[in-house]
Amino acid sequence: MTLDAKIPEGPVEQKWSRYQATCKLVNAANRKKLDVIIVGTGLAGGGAAAALGELGYNVKAFCFHDSPRRAHSTAAQGGVNAAKNYQNDGDNIYRMFYDTVKGGDFRSREANVYRMAELSVSLIDTCVAQGVPFAREYGGVLGNRSFGGVQVERTFYAQGQTGQQLLLGTYSALSRQIKAGRVTMYNRHEMLDLVIVDGQAKGIIARDLITGEIQRYAAHAVVLATGGYSKIFYLSTLALGSNATAIWKAHKRGAYIANPSLTQIHPTCLPQSGERQSKLTLMSESLRNDGRIWVPLKAGDERSPNAIPDDERDYYLERRYPAFGNLTPRDIASRAAKERIDAGHGVGPLKNAVYLDFRDALKEYGRDGIAGRYGNLFDMYRKITGLDAYSEPMRIAPAAHFSMGGLWVDYELMTSVNGLYALGECNFADHGANRLGANSLLQACVDGYFIIPTTIGNYLADQRTKNLPSTDAPEFQQAADAAEAAIRKLLNVNGGRPVDEYHRALGAILWDRCGISRSPEGLQEAIIQITELREDFHRNVRVTGGSHEPNNELEKALRINDYLELAELMCRDALSRDESCGAHFRTDHQTEDGEAVRNDDDFAYVAAWEYTPNGTPTLHKEHLTFQDVKLTARSYK
């Protein structure tokens, strides 16, 4: 199958309006005859469910949480970007488009990125109308701040809880449609398979997480909005339940996965403090607006940070990247931290961190000023570490964060399976090889609120005359049986090793070999190790409890089962991309001073992988063309 991204003709700034003007529509009376399944109800899925419900479609929405309000979107701290130019600092849609394409190291699709920047403007309007309490200036207008990789203030925020407030806005819009009867909400349900009838996505198999019942749901189209999969690293900033099961099962049913190895390592997380830790906590990147990052000039310096004088501190980001300083993009800041830590300048008990220092900002703005901007983050830091960041620098470290990779989608956000869509972090689009801060909430929101309501109509217009398949159809039967069999198989292994042990082992392999930096040798070794671990899992895992009851262990086992397969694909992807770009830093492609060396002649493409049962996956390339942004070496110096 050839990859057709279906990018509309014409200049980039007119593509979306042209698409809207020419795509097929479903009239209001016919929408109620059409059913749509949405899996995941965070910002992308919840927004899609609310928007499609408003339009009059029958929406069935699924989430594995007990309430859609708990989606991991809620944990995003810093903000959401929009090219409003409220600060009169020269911002506009083109500049935001340019920053994002450059920030993604020229591995994203121009047309998608332009549309995201274009729609950012009305997103803020929608959120404000929903009652999202963004930060305000005293005169009553909205406030802004800066994030990494840009030189304008275009980030809208609600203290350090922007994701929470945006999600509560989405959740309230979704709640309104639930009340109106346009959305049926299935809480505590996890998608276990995709059902394809006559080459089109027509339903899902889900497990009721309370009764354990395997259920079948049919619809005219299926939308996945299941978030990122960086929890595959075990230690990551993600919620513990975040997983890849839905997209992996869709992949096995024919949906291509694009750029799976492109994982963002976030530079401002709390460092690991012990062996039994289950997650790493993110501290908002917004802290880099006022905090200065440094390490002791002398390796192994044991003095307390406040006792180290200025001329014995290495403000390495300001030194290496004077134009952007502490606001260099995340991939660069993470790599620079790793370089200093590896060179012996790491701080903290495990020597695995760098300092993020507010001393100068406290002098300038006072304790109240800093508390007003970042108070909740300082409180969180104290709760987790027991330390006071007002009196000594924070200790931060890089951690696995956002998955830029995900299901391959075209301009309509349709996957390579007809009638199957992917929104938000579970698709690959928009961010390229590195995501700029405050663009994740943006992408999730515009995908759900604005893009899918239009593009899905173009598909559903032809579905109107087709009946909903019966859930007794053989395709449903086969998928449900397969899900039951997979569960029985796991419960019957009855070995001796708990699921978490495998997850930790997998995470360690990926972090070492497919993390901040990658080498061909390391990746080849990782593939062998992952294969061995997978075989051991099927021989020795122990899952207690039964299938028809609440069972956290079984849920985890099913997810790790899929992670063990996806991990291999991540390493194959990283191995095949024989260049450095964005978050993908290959040690065999760097300059003398440690900067990434991209290879546009051979690798300016999206790597879309097709699943082949019993064989190595097949690589399809979507070549990227850059008409509006010139391919240049990315410099933040």
């Binding site: 927004g47 609310a50 928007a51 408003e54 949480h65 007990d66 309430s67 309000r69 708990r70 989606a71 991991h72 809620t74 944990a75 803020i124 309007d125 929608t126 404000v128 109308a129 009652g131 309490p133 305000r136 005293y138 009553g140 207008v141 909205l142 609600a158 203290q159 809880q161 929470q164 407030q165 509560l168 309230s172 709640s175 309104r176 309370i210 919620a239 513990l240 339940g241 012990g274 062996e275 039994r276 830790q277 289950s278 997650k279 906590t281 409180d379 969180m380 709760k383 027991g386 609120y449 604005f450 309501p453 708990p498 978490d500 207690t544 009851e549 609440p550 069972n551 956290n552 262990e553």
Partner: protein
């Protein structure tokens, strides 16, 4: 450090429940409370026993999924802290720690420490929204909002919906949860048109879901991980009474 855990085990809503003893060694003081339970569960798996079921997700205090009663107090001994943000250094070597689910008849027990809090969703669905259509909103800065009002709305909006307020209340009242949402929306100029119907419907839904009445003991504020203020309950009552007076001409 060593601790003795006494954990509530109950197969389902209709089964009898009881506290079961689990001694645990080698607890790292810097470990989070939930990491400690994970450690116990791994030991149970190795012994072939069914694990302790509990809800959790983000483990950074924001999703509101986790919550258990620890030594008689929802979310444990610290103020302004969710269970996932509680660390074992809070306890002493040799402590006995009693762990139970959030108890309220509106939160039916599912298993062990897992309860069904969907009644809170139904309060939101009964009217806690602004009836705006997606994509049709006016220019954001055309609605000026004073910084004080935006900040006040934000403070109320930070409720994470964990349900600890209900679990700690002797009447199992959801007044703090509902009051926070009412106050968030009533501080803003948007959605004013439906404000009266909103508060009346939300209060009616609280009653319908079986939550008790508020008798102002303020345990909810003391326990709330987000430090949501009981002022919001007063605000809700004020909004409710004002709405009732306008509807019927007399206060309820």
């Amino acid at each position: 450090m060593k601790v003795l855990l006494k954990i509530w085990r109950q197969d389902d809503r209709d089964a009898a429940g009881k506290l079961v003893d689990y001694p645990l060694d080698d607890v790292d003081p810097d470990m989070s409370f939930l990491d400690m339970l994970d450690m116990l569960n791994e030991q149970l798996v190795r012994r072939g026993e069914r694990v302790i079921e509990f809800d959790n997700d983000c483990r950074e205090g924001i999703c509101g999924t986790c919550g258990m009663v620890i030594n008689g107090r929802p979310h444990g001994p610290l103020t302004a802290t969710t269970t996932c943000q509680l660390h074992m250094r809070t306890f002493n070597d040799g402590d006995t720690i009693v762990i139970e689910p959030f108890r309220a008849s509106s939160f039916p027990l599912i298993r062990d420490l897992k309860v069904d809090r969907s009644a809170l969703d139904r309060i939101i669905q009964s009217g806690a929204f602004i009836s705006t259509h997606i994509g049709t909103a006016p220019e954001a800065n055309s609605i000026l909002i004073a910084k004080d009002a935006a900040d006040a709305a934000f403070d109320a909006a930070t409720c994470i919906g964990c349900g600890a307020c209900v679990a700690v209340c002797k009447n199992a009242s959801a007044a703090l949860f509902t009051g926070a949402k009412v106050t968030h929306l009533s501080n803003l100029p948007q959605g004013k048109i439906e404000a009266q119907r909103r508060v009346v419907d939300m209060v009616a839904t609280m009653d319908k879901e079986g939550f008790g009445s508020c008798t102002n003991t303020e345990a909810c504020e003391a326990i709330c991980p987000q430090e949501i203020s009981t002022d919001y309950i007063a605000r809700m009552n004020w909004e409710y009474n004002a709405a009732k007076v306008r509807q019927t001409g007399k206060s309820s």
